[in-house]
Symmetry: C2
Subunit: 160 residues, 2 copies
Amino acid sequence: MPKQYGQGCPVAKSLEFLGERWTLLIVRDLFTGPKKFQDLLGSLKGVAPGVLSSRLKVLEDHGIAVRRLYSDHPPRAEYALTPKGVELRPVVRALAIWGTRYLSHDRVLVHNRCEQPIEMAYYCPSCDERLAADEASFRPTHTRAKNGRRRPRRVSQAAR
Amino acid sequence: MPKQYGQGCPVAKSLEFLGERWTLLIVRDLFTGPKKFQDLLGSLKGVAPGVLSSRLKVLEDHGIAVRRLYSDHPPRAEYALTPKGVELRPVVRALAIWGTRYLSHDRVLVHNRCEQPIEMAYYCPSCDERLAADEASFRPTHTRAKNGRRRPRRVSQAAR
């Protein structure tokens, strides 16, 4: 059972369960396609089956991964990321870029064409533009109408 | 003492210590400027002083944060991120974006100008270009010369 931080911050709320040992490595391994329990047990050397099972359950409960049967006779299941899980890719990529720069000195993530190291940056899909840190900020998702009622912020469909 | 995963993967190596409970929240709090031990104890409700102290020690050992005296009489110290620590910003940002989208329904990270939600994307500083996932790949940092000797990959200074 993940421990709570008791903070409203989205980073803290994410880390309450993503921060548990093994969890982001399971997500990493699912980026390359659905995996059977045994596959994960093999790629994550040292994970106890009970721990793997509990982490997968938490990922299912949060709608990050789904367990699905790919054969009825005999019954065989595999785990796959949901779209919500696939959206964790920037988190894992950012860790990979930082880790290759500072911890693994044997490889580096590069742009295929120019072969130079790459970074991760803020990007506005609506304007198709890279942004500096000071060009982005947190805004409430709801605004108050003149009558005091809470109403959703207008966000174009294209950007969703 | 962080537990090892025994994997060469840069994500696993990063998570061995960054994945410990509280660590990324300490880094998050240091992004807004240097903090005293007491400040962190106040912003991270529920952290035990011994745990905070041990996490800060690990961050210092990895060159992510430094402890520095800002007054000799009486001696007072504060913790600040190093450039290596500041480079963890994309990791925390990616968690913030994911968390605001899926866990905190009260706010969203938007582009100041158009007010639409933003994402994080691969970016090549050398080409000043946003990249799709398949335009980047891991390459060895060293290549083999004809005589079999290991030699560093050529990487332009601009991109370092």
